[in-house]
């Protein structure tokens, strides 16, 4: 097997340049690459285009990079949790492209699967369809959507081995598996990095071929947005 281990987040993101296009896994704050985001903050890289389902909250996740104005453009499906985001957007400081969540997921998947375009019914007749080709199949109208790929994909998994095989946990899987496939360079941070041969090949969610760098993250906060309990 091929060893993809790097020391830490700083080493993993060392060559991400200004104006790079990034994908960041996660749904809300669940399954986000906390260590990589912290390293980007520290590194101060600017002008980023970030593809991520959400934009974090004011003081966590991608929200941290918004605060420091490191993000030029967000490509997301839902950004409702972030007041700073809404402020920058309404003031025109931030470019935003909103994409239906399933279309976003599939555009990323096709980016990692060598499929440059596909047809989906989501968004037909809405703002999302403006300027896009439509076509009928079996009497139903579909939009043509194109693949998305990144310069760097930053994903977070539960366990990983040094050859880059990844296993996610719970709903922290979400966008991480597709984003792992769609990066020119894919960086994986994991809660537990194990030796090659420790993971059951049947249980791998992301095969190591997609992952270029992997490290064991530290100090995961795993912040909860809506702590909802039953009495």
């Amino acid at each position: 097997m091929i060893n993809k281990r790097v020391l830490n987040a700083d080493e993993a993101v060392r060559d991400i340049p200004d104006h790079a296009t990034l994908m960041l896994g996660g749904f809300g704050l669940c399954g986000i690459p906390e260590n990589c985001i912290a390293a980007l903050l520290k590194k101060g890289v600017k002008g980023l285009t970030c593809i991520s389902n959400n934009a974090g909250v004011d003081d966590f996740g991608i929200g941290l990079l918004l605060k420091t104005r490191q993000v030029k453009k967000m490509i997301s499906s839902y950004v409702g949790e972030n007041a700073e985001f809404e402020r920058q957007l309404l003031s025109g400081e931030l470019e935003v492209e909103l994409i239906p969540q399933g279309t976003l997921a599939e555009r990323v998947r096709t980016g990692g699967a060598g499929i440059p375009a596909f047809f989906t019914p989501a968004g037909v007749g809405t703002e999302v369809a403006v300027g896009k080709e439509t076509r009928e199949f079996d009497g139903k109208t579909y939009l043509m959507e194109s693949w998305l790929r990144s310069d760097f994909s930053l994903v977070k998994a539960w366990k990983g081995d040094t050859s880059g095989n990844l296993i996610y946990r719970g709903t922290a899987r979400n966008f991480n598996p597709m984003m792992a496939t769609a990066g020119k360079i894919t960086i994986a941070e994991v809660e537990e990095l194990v030796p090659v041969g420790s993971l059951d090949p049947n249980e791998i969610h992301t095969p190591g071929i997609y992952v270029h760098r992997i490290f064991q993250g530290v100090g995961y906060e795993k912040r909860i947005e809506q702590r909802t309990i039953s009495k």
Binding site: F27, T120, R169, G170, I224, Q226, I229
Partner: protein
């Protein structure tokens, strides 16, 4: 007039044994609490889970287990976890039997608007556009009128729409109505204490009132 819990209770009556159901954020999420115990359904969370269980006890909270509203949840026995691509694959291919979601406006031909108020609110559509474009059956939970008293059941939506001709049934605080293609809103039931006349006045779109409209029964 129904409160949020009343709307959720009434929608729960629409649920049939064996259904796979996607519940939107807000009132739809409450529906889960009122599904009769003898009915077996599976709740889908579009962020990657089939088999949403009750909210966790304090000591069960797991940051890696949330629903699409970012609330902490539990899993039922027999749950399955998957990626967002897989999740919307099953949504687009019509495997989800029933979608329940909120709306800001619905038009008499079934168009729905629930994702944007130009110049005011930019939250994004999330999974709503995918859901309404593909669901076999869509029930909308909504307020019949705005706080200012303006009807939200319209001839045409004034807000940017989420999907065309997709809503099948509406449960509002005032009534249960079906969207009948080419006809308009067909009134099926009145909320307790609400008259047909009041519903008529609160509905801008074409309203079909066929015979005597019963008052709904809630447990």
């Amino acid at each position: 007039m129904l409160d949020k819990i009343g709307i959720a209770k009434r929608i729960a009556q629409e649920v049939r044994d064996g259904m796979y159901i996607n519940l939107g954020i807000g009132i739809p999420t409450l529906v889960a609490n009122y599904i009769p115990k003898n009915i077996n359904v599976v709740l889908q969370s579009e962020n990657g889970l089939l088999g949403i269980g009750p909210f966790p006890k304090d000591d069960q909270v797991d940051a890696d287990l949330i629903n699409a509203g970012k609330q902490t949840i539990t899993m039922m026995p027999g749950s399955a976890l998957f990626s967002s691509a897989e999740s919307f694959g099953m949504i687009r291919s019509g495997k989800v039997d029933l979608t329940i979601l909120g709306a800001m406006e619905v038009s008499e031909n079934g168009d729905i608007a629930n994702w944007k108020v130009p110049g005011k609110m930019v939250k994004g559509m999330g999974g709503a556009m995918d859901l309404v474009a593909s669901a076999k059956h869509i029930i909308v939970a909504m307020q019949h009128c705005s706080k200012e008293g303006a009807s939200k059941l319209l001839k045409n939506c004034s807000l940017p729409i989420t999907g065309l001709r997709c809503v099948k049934r509406i449960v509002s605080d005032m009534a249960v109505l079906d969207v009948v293609p080419g006809v308009g809103f067909k009134l099926l039931e009145r909320a307790p204490g609400v008259s047909t006349e009041e519903i008529k006045n609160a509905t801008e779109g074409k309203l079909l009132i066929d015979g005597n409209i019963p008052e709904m029964t809630l447990n």
